[in-house]
Amino acid sequence: MTYTVAAVLGVVFAAGLDLLVLRTKLLRRKAFWTAYAIVVVFQLVVNGVFTGQRLVVYARADILGPRLFYGPIEDLAFGFSLVLQTLAWWVWWGRRASQARPSPTAASAARRPAPTETR
């Protein structure tokens, strides 16, 4: 398996975790894409330092070839998978905790029809 294939699988795995397994659905949220847009800029800079200084060297046969700030474009997918998986788990743990102890206002809202989904 090449890095290219692994990178695509990494994104698919993260999307599956977010949409199907944890059902955090960050991929549909403005807050996620805004945070990612900020993070990706710093990721490119940091990755540019590591790859530009050749602290990490890639096998030419395992990447497509195009590079972004010295790093192979596959690194973009790797970084995206890292951020999405992280934030999905963060939100999932937070949702678990907030369902375990709802806010005081939730008690007064108990007579209203329960929301089908917390979004």
Binding site: L55, L82, T118
Partner: protein, 107 residues
Amino acid sequence: MTWIYPVVLAGCLLATLPLELGLKARVYARPVRLLATLAPVLAVFVTWDALAIHAGHWRYRHLLGVRVRNVPIEELAFFVVVPICAVLTLEAVRRRRPGWRIGDERP
């Protein structure tokens, strides 16, 4: 050159610290949730890194030379630092845009 990697990672933590202290992102303030988030991510990415090194997708140069199995400790630190920065950014976005739901709000 061995100092570049740790310095860059420390820079990431320093640069995002104002999100916790100034914007009140409350990420370090919730250490259990943070550790529970880092654990599965670390497991997946250390495995990926180990397999990729084994498969020869990439190799490292000019690092400290300390490795856990075949994964350099700098990489372990990377998979802790980058997720922390990502969570801090998401929580900072929430602070600035309280109307945007993230999915963990109390019902």
